[in-house]
Amino acid sequence: MAPKLPPHHPVEQSTSTAAGGQAAEHPAPPRGLMRWLLTTNHKEIGSLYLIFSLTMFFIGGIFALVVRAELFQPGLQLVNPEFFNQMTTMHGLIMVFGAIMPAFVGLANWMVPLQIGAPDMALPRLNNFSFWLLPVAFTLLLSTLLMPGGGPDFGWTFYAPLSTTYAPPSTTFFILSMHIAGISSILGAINIIATILNLRAPGMRLMDMPLFVWTWLITAFLLIAVMPVLAGVITMMLLDINFGTSFFNAAGGGDPVLFQHLFWFFGHPEVYIMILPAFGIVSAIIPTFSRKPLFGYASMVYATASIAVLSFLVWAHHMFTVGLPLVAELFFMYTTMLIAVPTGVKVFNWISTMFRGSISFEPPMLFSLAFVVQFTIGGFSGLMLAISPADFQYHDTYFVVAHFHYVLVPGALFAILAGVYYWLPKWTGHYPHLKLSQWHFWLSVIGVNLTFFPMHFSGLAGMPRRIPDYALQFADFNLASSLGAFLFGASQLLFVWLVVKCVRGGEKAPARAWEGAEDLEWSVPSPAPLHTFEHPPTFRPDTPH
């Protein structure tokens, strides 16, 4: 087959188009705190999201370290079981809703307008509002820890009736904070959809968009589809707790299993909400550092869409042990296995992109390569979990913990870190310190694998998840996991130092900071001025489609 031309585009290098005529029509922004409270600039809001997410990442990380410290050796040493349960629950909630999701929204805020040549998000004031909802939501959520009876202690999946009839009194506040965080996500999604569909540079068609934009568009649709379902579920919980209904209470004719169906109808697409934008980031970075166009751009888009559609058809694979009828078990087993196909296509495409490229190993590429390998490992364990009879043994053990941490930590989180390293020169005008970033990378990789790899074995050997103390045969695995967790946690401090250093100074970056980078964001100066693309850029797809 004859090689075809790439589906992406050399970009106008003249910075005059991009930055031309800024400042003149913009009043001076208010100073100090008010500036950040009132900002409607997508770049500033993007930075706010990222800083918020980093803060939450450390808070959630501290909770994880409390858990790992207690599990360092058998016996109850540091915390009592009630507090342990609150820590596992809060760790999950904060990492999912407070760290990973806002980080992706932050990246979208920064990069989507730059990648499609838009001057800002479509709804800047809504953008400001949806950000400031988050600190409110999470302050509320964290404050439940100080309430009588403690914070949520029923796992991030908050299965009824443990989270309704048997829940601590603070649960109503937990529901409220989830509602606020949910509204924030929904507003963010509306904004992103409106931006992508309406503010693309003239001449840029959907199939010309960078994959990060594509994956975020699909993610935003997923958010629109499932966040209302989450809102519905927690509203039903609220009614059950405070108004005497019995949606999930068997005593009143309700059904606890219904909760799980509704939750996972939200929860499984939620999993993809946390991974699709990661695919987009990696699909931008790998071609850049392979100096070769992305292999199979169209099939990447199709695969993302297939994954999104399939994500609505697999929810009950989280519930194989609740006593589903045989037909349902088979249906969900088959659909779950089908997801492996588009996911596999993505991995193959990334590898084909590297094949016969000209590969260099800058920090963003290192994190992306680690993403590909370790996300694939998470995918393998996911395939094993899909086999329903085997899942009877894996379900609710550390094998599952290992699986989803492989997908979310060296998966989603590494992709976010890769994106940050990739775009830091654009944000700050400086390259991140090379040696430090390499140290950060290697320590993170070792830490992550030391933490999560042994969990496969402890799970297979029979250790259930969410237990504060364990039988002696699991001691070695847990020791390794705890050491790894502390190593990983500590190495993230390096990251903070590195980012601060990079903001303050460092090697200057040109507009096109990476040699192989092709998308529109590299046509504006580094650091990107506050206002870009006030006049739409000339988008010149070099292929005549």
Binding site: H26, I190, G252, L258
Partner: protein, 199 residues
């Protein structure tokens, strides 16, 4: 800044249209979440998922009794916290032919010092027998009230369909007694409205 512009560019119109559409989709999905509650009940009744049973009586179907097959039907009764009641069944198990109707009595007894309301929540195992179990009369369709010390016997009349899957030889009916706080009752029926209001 965009919003403060007075000009009505095509992009602005597009944004407004997109926002309108996503808001409609949002409202639809929120409603859908609540619609899933009754839908789930229908789904359960069709598939027998979770041993959910009809909460209203079904008509006896007159069909030929399958003399060649015997099925064991077990009855299990359970209490729950907060209710000083006993529920006992006259026989723990009986053997019936598919197509045959049978009657069994359950004795309720309130050993508490005050009158109270309760409901027996039914469950059937295995779940694929559920579709073929027809309850003609059951105390589980209604909430029951017993005065302090009162004793009450209520019947269950049921029939196993002839089309009961051949591998099912034992059917277990479990009844769990739950207390009902009477002033909650209207709300409860609202929550379960999707499957035909009982009583």
């Amino acid at each position: 800044m965009r919003e403060s512009r007075t000009t009505d560019s095509p992009a602005d119109r597009g944004v407004r249209r997109t926002v309108r559409r996503t808001l409609v989709a949002l409202a639809g999905m929120f409603a859908f979440a609540f619609a899933l509650v009754p839908l789930y009940d229908v789904f359960c009744q069709v598939t027998g998922l979770n041993g959910k049973v009809d909460t209203s009586g079904q008509a006896l179907v007159h069909e030929e009794v399958d003399e060649s097959r015997m099925v064991t039907v077990q009855f299990v009764t359970r209490g729950s916290a907060g209710l000083p009641w006993n529920l006992e069944v006259e026989t723990r198990q009986m053997r019936v032919h598919p197509g045959q109707s049978a009657e069994v009595y359950f004795a309720f007894h309130n050993s508490g010092a005050t009158g109270s309301w309760a409901r027996a929540v039914p469950s059937v195992s295995p779940s694929n027998a559920n579709r073929h179990l027809r309850k003609v009369t059951c105390f589980c369709f209604d909430e029951q009230h017993l005065e302090a010390g009162e004793r009450l016997e209520l019947p269950l009349v049921f029939q196993l369909g002839r089309d009961l899957p051949p591998e099912v030889n034992t059917v277990t009916l479990v009844y769990t007694l739950y207390p009902v706080t009477r002033d909650e009752a209207p709300l409860q029926s609202r929550a379960t409205a999707g499957k035909g209001d009982e009583a």
